[in-house]
Symmetry: C2
Subunit: 106 residues, 2 copies
DNA sequence: TCATCGTTTAGACTGTTGTCAAACCATCGT
DNA sequence: ACGATGGTTTGACAACAGTCTAAACGATGA
């Protein structure tokens, strides 16, 4: 015989079987980190939180917080806006609802 | 003065602000991988899929598939059962519903 | 101008994760 | 009992992600 073909052989991909939307993936990714999840929860709970508030609520540096907020923002779950010297983060409930709706299809 | 305290200083953690449930975290984690998400979708679509079916649907080795299935199983999203030489994977819709319900609270 | 609040970048460290190959276990036919 | 087939476990590895420090930068208000 030619080759025992090994114990396990990867097969070629067939047609994509209803691949999930990109947004769903990015949001799921954003949610996968516990800290980020908590941060999102915190923002959602007050529907609007200042960065300084968040910094008081979690033991992370400003750099890390900024990083997480950017992640959450880039997937559309939050928005940021300046209020004077401060930055407010607001929860985008529509995006959240859309995400849930998409998950519900599964 | 003593020290300018650096540019950014971590603060002490305050009381946990409504920390998310463990299950929600593990499921969110499981969903964060695109491949795993697809696999779950595939299983959910037929509500029951054989491993061999899944192996035909995705270009991954049996080992990797097994790994992913274990992840999905350990967070309660699927169950596995032997049927003769084969292993069937079934979607646990209740767990899924519970997850969605939990997310909806946010 | 200076202080404050936040962002960005860069570098480094650490833990986790997706993946594979190979060895292993389980089941069925013959 | 043996071999073939379907899945699992193990060990290893490369890639990534979260976090920090440190420093520079930007924006705002006093």
């Amino acid at each position: 015989m030619s080759k025992p073909s090994g114990p396990t052989t990867p097969r070629k991909a067939k047609g994509p079987t209803a691949r999930p939307k990109r947004e769903v993936l990015t949001i799921s990714r954003a949610l996968s980190d516990p800290r980020r999840f908590e941060i999102l929860q915190h923002i959602a709970a007050k529907s609007c939180a200042a960065c300084s508030d968040l910094r008081g609520a979690f033991p992370i540096t400003a750099a890390t917080l900024s990083h997480h907020l950017k992640e959450l923002e880039s997937c559309g779950l939050i928005e940021t806006s300046r209020r004077g010297k401060f930055v407010d983060t607001t929860f985008c409930r529509p995006a959240w609802e859309a995400y849930l709706k998409e998950l519900k299809k599964i």
